[in-house]
């Protein structure tokens, strides 16, 4: 686009000579005032002159610098991801080659001098299950809150609710963890016990597990609260962007408020909400300290959400203090690599889903 610009622009501008002597009067207003202003001016009015203003040739440097900078940041990011992946892979490959059990299907985790047997099946299950529960609980609530803020409440209430939800995002996860383990988990324990104790307890997923409150379910609930503000804030932003035309059109067709939301706002916000949910899921999958504080670990893998377990991140964090040999570190890094790939896959799927159903704005 730069090469099509003319070298110089000659702009004929009417400038009254008096403009030089009177800087408070802008040439434009003088000009806008037109002939009548000239006539009523207190000063003696000189005849209008046409001058040619030669504009400097626009410098191309800022353009080049900016495009260079964006390119550099892009390359940097890709290189960073690549470097992280490479680091994970290189550190993990040694212990993986000496692993005595199947890395993907075993639930054993023994990394001692005598035996090197580690598998991620248990962690994968706990990570995925807790994140899915958190998503299932948080996303509908987040959409509801976002709709309330954008379409149902008065601006004052909307702002207040939005403020409060944003406040949740600013709470550090260690605080969530401490609150979860000391306050929240004991509160929901009677509910878990009731479910596990009823006929539902026959289902392995809901079987009675821990005696204490540090269950996967409790951790998932806290995760849901943690991702709520992310999903809400982003959903709110897309819902606000719904074109006025769509909304008016829905009204014009005689839609009720809910029908308007269903036909105009939700389809328009679909891809945005999916993207928001994926950001939330990413946080849930990788959340470390809160999960570590809440979740109890168990010696034998258990399918139940009312039992304990370990996520990838919490397992690594629990043992990071004692990673005293490359072999052991490598085993944990291998688990980290799976989390990395899992997050990567989730994001890739989310992109496909979001792009597939993108509403035409």
């Amino acid at each position: 686009m730069t090469n099509t610009e003319p070298k110089t622009t000659e702009a004929p501008i009417d400038v009254p000579a008096g403009a030089d002597t009177d800087p408070t009067v802008s040439p434009v207003s003088e000009k806008a005032a037109g002939g009548s202003a000239v006539a009523t001016a207190t000063e003696t009015t000189p005849p209008l002159r046409v001058t040619k203003v030669a504009m400097r040739e626009p410098s191309k440097a800022p353009d080049k610098i900016f495009s260079g900078a964006t390119l550099a940041t892009g390359i940097f990011l890709v290189a960073l991801i690549g470097a992280i992946f490479l680091f994970l892979l290189l550190t993990a490959v040694g212990p993986l080659s000496r692993n005595e059990v199947n890395f993907l299907t075993s639930t054993e985790w023994t990394v001692t001098d005598k035996r090197l047997a580690f598998g991620i099946a248990g962690m994968l299950w706990t990570t995925v299950v807790s994140s899915i529960i958190a998503m299932c609980l948080a996303v509908p609530v987040a959409i509801g809150v976002a709709l309330l803020i954008t379409h149902y409440s008065t601006p004052a209430i909307g702002r207040t609710v939005g403020f409060l939800v944003d406040l949740l995002a600013a709470v550090p996860s260690v605080v969530y963890g401490m609150w979860g383990v000391r306050v929240f988990a004991p509160v929901i324990q009677p509910f878990s016990d009731a479910v596990a104790g009823s006929w539902l307890g026959k289902i392995p997923l809901l079987a009675p597990g821990l005696q204490s409150s540090g269950t996967v379910f409790a951790a998932a609930l806290v995760l849901a609260i943690m991702i709520l503000p992310i999903v809400t804030a982003l959903s709110r932003d897309v819902f606000e962007q719904t074109p006025r035309d769509h909304i008016e059109a829905a009204w014009a067709l005689g839609a009720t408020k809910w029908e308007m939301i269903k036909t105009a706002v939700l389809p328009y916000g679909r891809s945005g909400v999916i993207a928001a949910s994926m950001l939330g899921l990413g946080r849930a999958l990788g959340e470390t300290i809160a999960v570590m504080l809440i979740l109890s670990t168990v010696r034998k893998f258990d399918w139940s959400i009312f039992s304990g377990g370990e996520t990838f991140a919490s397992k690594i964090a629990t043992n990071a203090g004692e990673l005293d040999s490359p072999t052991k570190t490598g085993a944990y890094i291998a688990a980290g690599l799976v989390l990395f790939l899992l997050t990567f896959a989730v994001n890739a799927i989310a992109r496909v889903v979001a792009a597939g159903g993108k509403a035409k704005a």
Partner: protein
């Protein structure tokens, strides 16, 4: 989004919350120790010295008592490692730094293995460890004692036992103030063989207690821990038929639930009815949990500083000059000894540190071995070193150059 403005408010709140909790762990650490190290310590040393072998201790005391006067050299030394001695070390360093108001001695917990590694990689001037330096290669083919020798410019590293920590078997049962357990029964609980509190084997030991028929909820450390290793060593020695496998830092309990760190274990036992777990004594005290008395074959022994110190007195010293390794005895300790103690070491260079650092470290360790500082550790849930061993450690510290 108004996150920026909110973040400021929330960050403030969070910072407050964090600093409060950070204090929670170690509020009573020392502080009071400072300033009283002169007159008080000599008197306590002499009174405690009289009841044991008076001749030996008073002789060493006469030279030891005078030399414990600290000189407060300038400079800064960093130590780190074992988290089992962290509370003690924080109390000692704080007391020393307050007393001296010049030297800076800092201890950071990072795990014993990491501490030793940082020590021989010259990031630390001494290491705190749950176990003495190993002479055999580990899984990365590193021989710790040789690495340390290189670090100390070809002078051997010394293991100095300094902190004695009793481990409590704590429980949370309504209406039960006193509980007696044997190593065998505890191991059966950890193995999942005994699952309820009113099991016949527990009842036989506690005839008067009203034991509930509820399930025992075992809580253990899920991170690798020196505490776990020491408890495992004890149970392996005292209940060899029940303890299968080898003691290690990995959890040995076959049932129950794991929590990271002693604090979380104590919290979980506190929060869960009918829970049972092991933890450093201090944490059980702070959480006001019931602590089981152990019947090691010579009658039930309650956990007190005295009963724990008795177990230390029975320990065997494997000294190589000033390198002092302690081999704890877990059985046949005699009457009134609480068997579950762990001893943690300070690992230092016998020679080879820069003069300024060496002087400060030496001064600090001397301070830490003062009977007064040792007896102050009782408040933190540790037991004092027995006189005989304390004297040997003092001699070693004085020989450091």
């Amino acid at each position: 989004m108004k996150i920026n403005r909110l973040a400021q408010v929330a960050a403030l709140m969070a910072a407050g919350a964090l600093s409060l909790t950070a204090c929670g762990g170690s509020t009573e650490t020392g502080g009071t120790t400072g300033g009283q190290t002169t007159a008080a310590e000599t008197s306590t040393a002499q009174t405690s010295g009289t009841d044991t072998s008076a001749a030996e201790t008073s002789a060493s005391e006469s030279q030891g008592g005078g030399a414990v006067e600290i000189t407060c050299p300038k400079g800064k030394v960093n130590g780190g490692g074992s988290s089992a001695q962290d509370i003690a070390m924080q109390a000692l360093t704080k007391a020393y730094n307050t007393t001296c108001n010049s030297g800076q001695v800092i201890y950071t917990k990072s795990g014993s293995g990491q501490g030793i590694k940082d020590f021989y990689n010259k990031q630390l001037q001494w290491a705190g460890s749950d176990s003495a330096l190993k002479d055999k290669p580990n899984k990365d083919k590193v021989v710790e004692s040789e690495k340390v020798k290189t670090r100390c410019e070809n002078n051997p590293g010394w293991n100095l036992p300094l902190i004695v920590g009793p481990v409590a078997f704590a429980y949370n049962i309504d209406g039960v103030d006193k509980l007696v357990l044997t190593p065998k029964v505890m191991m059966e609980i950890f193995n999942g063989k005994i699952t309820t509190w009113d099991d016949a084997q527990i009842k036989a030991l506690n005839k008067d207690a009203k034991l509930p028929s509820d399930k025992i909820n075992v809580v253990y450390r899920n991170d690798e821990s020196g505490t776990t290793e020491n408890v495992a060593k004890y149970l392996k020695a005292a209940a060899p038929d029940q303890f299968t496998g080898e003691p290690s830092k990995e959890p040995f309990a076959k049932v129950g639930e794991g929590k990271k760190g002693t604090q979380a274990v104590a919290d979980a036992v506190k929060a869960t009815k009918n829970a049972f777990g092991y933890m450093e004594w201090k944490y059980a005290k702070d959480a006001q949990l019931g602590v089981a008395s152990i019947d090691n074959g010579q009658g039930a022994v309650e956990l007190t500083a005295e009963s724990a110190a008795k177990a230390m007195e029975a320990a065997e010293l494997q000294a190589d000059g000033n390198d002092l390794k302690v081999k704890l005895k877990y059985t046949d300790l005699g009457e009134g000894a609480y068997p579950m103690v762990m001893v943690t070491y300070e690992i230092v260079c016998s020679k080879g540190l820069p003069a300024e650092e060496a002087a400060l470290l030496k001064d600090f360790l001397l301070f830490a071995t003062s009977p007064d500082a040792q007896s102050k550790l009782e408040d933190q849930g540790y037991a004092p070193l027995p006189e005989s061993l304390l004297t040997k450690v003092q001699t070693a510290v004085k020989a450091m150059a």
